[in-house]
C-alpha cells in the first residue's frame, strides 16, 4: 500500500453523512426560536447563547447532567470492580459450569431493557431505592457487568500465564500480585472496559427514566420538559442535546488511541 496523502472520497462522504445531523443540531441550538420556525437558514443569522444560558442557570436542567454523571460513574466503577476478579477466573481457570456461566452472563447483555423496566420499578420501589442514583447504577450493571467481563477476559487471555506463576513462586499473595503486577499489565483493557461501561450507561434512557422521578432524573429524561403549552422549545431542546454530546466527545478524545483495539474487545 503506497502512502496516499489525500483522504479518499468514501471516507469524506461518510464523515459528511455523520456530521450533518449533528451540525444541524448545533446550528439550531444557536438560533432563536423565531428564526428556527420562521426562516430556514443554514447558519444562525442572529447568533444567540440564550438557549445555553437557560439550561446552565436552571438547577432543574443542569442537575440532570450532574445526576447522569453520578450514576454513570458509580456504575462504571462498580461494573469494572466486580468484573476484574471474575474475568481473571474465566481467563485462567476452568471450573464446574464455567462455559455455561459465561454464556448466562452474556444473555443479560442481550436482555431487552423493555422486559426489565417494570420488574425493576417494583424491585427498587420495594427496597426503598427508587429515585436514587444507586438504583440506576445497579440497574445498568445488568448489561455492563457482562460486557466488562467479556472485554477484560479477552485482554487477560493475552497475558502469558507464566507471569502469574513466576509471581506466585516469588512469594506474592494473590491480592498483591493482582493489584501490583497484573492490573498494570491489562491497564488498556481496564480503560476500554470502563469506556464501554461509561458509554452504555450514558446513552441508556428507558431504565434510567423508569427508575427516577425527581432526585436522580437523568438529563435525557429532563429533555422531554421542552414540550410546553406553547409547543416545543426547539432552541433549548437542541442546546440540551448538544450538551449531552460533550461528555461523550471528551471521553472519546482521551481514549482515541485505544478505540480501534478496544472495539475489538481484545480479541484481535
Amino acid at each position: 500500500m503506497n502512502f496516499r496523502p489525500r483522504i479518499n472520497l468514501v471516507m469524506v462522504l461518510y464523515l459528511l453523512f455523520l456530521m450533518l445531523p449533528i451540525y444541524w443540531l448545533l446550528n439550531m441550538s444557536l438560533k432563536t426560536n423565531t428564526e428556527i420556525l420562521n426562516a430556514f437558514t443554514l447558519w444562525p443569522e442572529t447568533l444567540t447563547l440564550d438557549n445555553y444560558r437557560t439550561i446552565l442557570s436552571d438547577p432543574a436542567w443542569y442537575m440532570g447532567y450532574v445526576n447522569s454523571i453520578i450514576y454513570v460513574t458509580m456504575n462504571t466503577v462498580l461494573s469494572v470492580a466486580v468484573a476484574l476478579p471474575a474475568a481473571y477466573a474465566f481467563s485462567r481457570y476452568s471450573f464446574l459450569g464455567d462455559k455455561h456461566l459465561f454464556f448466562w452472563l452474556l444473555t443479560n447483555r442481550m436482555a431487552p431493557p423493555a422486559v426489565f423496566a417494570l420488574p425493576f420499578f417494583q424491585l427498587y420501589s420495594s427496597v426503598g431505592l427508587f429515585d436514587t442514583h444507586i438504583a440506576v447504577a445497579l440497574a445498568h450493571t445488568l448489561f455492563n457487568v457482562p460486557l466488562a467481563v467479556w472485554i477484560l477476559e479477552g485482554f487477560m487471555r493475552g497475558v502469558p500465564k507464566e507471569i502469574d506463576e513466576t509471581a506466585y513462586i516469588d512469594g506474592y499473595s494473590f491480592g498483591h500480585f493482582f493489584v501490583k503486577i497484573f492490573m498494570p499489565l491489562i491497564a488498556s483493557g481496564i480503560g476500554v472496559a470502563a469506556f464501554f461501561c461509561f458509554m452504555f450507561s450514558w446513552v441508556e434512557l428507558l431504565l434510567s427514566r423508569t427508575l427516577t422521578t425527581v432526585d436522580a432524573k437523568p438529563i435525557a429524561a429532563i429533555m422531554t420538559r421542552t414540550q410546553g403549552a406553547a409547543g416545543i422549545d426547539w432552541g433549548v431542546l437542541a442546546a440540551a442535546g448538544v450538551l449531552t454530546i460533550v461528555p461523550g466527545a471528551l471521553v472519546i478524545y482521551f481514549v482515541r488511541n485505544y478505540i480501534a483495539k478496544g472495539f475489538a474487545l481484545g480479541r484481535v
Binding site: 443554514l42 452474556l106 443479560n108 441508556e204
Partner: protein, 290 residues
C-alpha cells in the same frame, strides 16, 4: 491457553454472580411469575397456567411486531455490515487523519439514544429540518409522521447513521492486525485488489465481524428509544417494533400477564439467535488460535 482446573475460581466469580442475581434473576422471576398468573387488582393473584402464552401466540399483534422487528434487524444488518467493512477499508493508513476519523466516527456512538432520536426527528422535519426541507425543495413528498414508508426509511437511515461506525471500527481493528508481510506476499503474487480482500482481509476480519454482527443483532432487536422518539411506533402501527409494543402493553396498559408472556418469548428468541452466533464465535476463537 491451557487452563488449570480450580474449583476455588468460583469465589472470584461470586461478586458478579450476586450482583447479576440481584439485577437480573429477581426481576426475571417476577416476569415469569406474572406470565402464569392473573390478577383482579389488590395484589390478589390467580394461577393462569399457560393461558397468557396461548393468548399471545394466537394474537396477531405480537406476530406483526415480530415480523416488523425481523425486517428491521435484517435490513440494518444488510446495510451496516458491508458499509462498515467498506469504511474500514477506506480508513487513512497513518498520520493525524487516523485519529480525526476515529474520533468523528465514534461520536454518534456516545450520544444518548433519545438525543439520537431527537436529532433525526428535527433533521427530518419538513419545516425546520435540513433533510426534510431539502427533500421538499427537490419536490420529494416526504413526511415521516404520515407515511409508513418514509417512517421506515427514516428509522433505517438513523440506525445506519448511529451504528455503522461500530462495525467499521471493529473491522478496522481486524484489518490493523494483518501483518505487512501478507500484503507484500500478495504483491509479489500480483494478486488483484479483490483477491487481497477475499483471501487476506476478509478471513482476518471474520472474528471481529462475528462480534459486530452479534452486537448489532442484539442491540437492533431490543431497540426502543430511538424509534420511540422519532415515530412513536406510528404512523398507525407501522414502526411498532417489539420493545415499543411491549412497553405499550406493560407500562401503558398495565396488561401484566400478556406483557410478561410476551417478554419471555421475546427474550427466548434473542437468546436462541445469540446462542447460535456465540457458538460460531467460540469455535472461530478456538480454530483461529485467537
Amino acid at each position: 491457553m491451557e487452563k488449570t482446573v480450580n474449583q476455588k475460581a468460583w469465589f472470584l466469580v461470586l461478586p458478579v454472580l450476586l450482583l447479576v442475581a440481584f439485577s437480573a434473576v429477581i426481576p426475571l422471576m417476577t416476569v415469569v411469575n406474572y406470565s402464569v398468573q392473573d390478577t383482579f387488582g389488590n395484589n390478589q393473584f390467580f394461577w393462569a397456567g399457560l393461558d397468557w402464552f396461548r393468548q399471545m401466540l394466537e394474537d396477531e399483534r405480537m406476530w406483526n411486531a415480530l415480523r416488523r422487528q425481523v425486517i428491521f434487524s435484517g435490513v440494518i444488518l444488510a446495510i451496516e455490515v458491508p458499509l462498515g467493512v467498506l469504511i474500514a477499508l477506506n480508513m487513512p493508513k497513518r498520520g493525524v487523519m487516523v485519529s480525526v476519523c476515529l474520533v468523528l466516527m465514534s461520536l454518534p456512538l456516545l450520544i444518548p439514544w433519545n438525543v439520537v432520536g431527537t436529532i433525526w426527528q428535527i433533521f427530518g422535519r419538513v419545516d425546520i429540518g435540513l433533510l426534510g426541507h431539502t427533500l421538499a425543495a427537490l419536490g420529494v413528498d416526504y413526511n415521516y409522521t404520515q407515511d409508513a414508508l418514509d417512517a421506515w426509511v427514516t428509522l433505517i437511515v438513523m440506525d445506519v447513521w448511529h451504528w455503522t461506525s461500530l462495525v467499521a471500527l471493529l473491522a478496522y481493528a481486524g484489518l490493523k492486525s494483518i501483518p505487512d508481510a501478507y500484503y507484500q506476499a500478495a504483491r509479489i503474487d500480483q494478486a488483484s485488489r479483490w483477491a487481497v480482500f477475499r483471501y487476506i482481509e476478509l478471513p482476518k476480519m471474520t472474528g471481529v465481524l462475528t462480534i459486530a454482527i452479534l452486537l448489532r443483532f442484539m442491540d437492533s432487536f431490543k431497540i426502543y428509544t430511538e424509534p420511540f422518539v422519532v415515530t412513536g411506533g406510528g404512523p398507525g402501527n407501522a414502526t411498532t417494533l417489539l420493545s415499543i409494543d411491549l412497553v405499550k402493553m406493560a407500562l401503558g396498559q398495565f396488561d401484566l400477564g400478556p406483557a410478561a408472556a410476551f417478554s419471555i418469548m421475546y427474550f427466548l428468541v434473542i437468546l436462541l439467535v445469540s446462542w447460535v452466533f456465540y457458538t460460531v464465535m467460540t469455535n472461530l476463537d478456538q480454530q483461529g488460535g485467537k
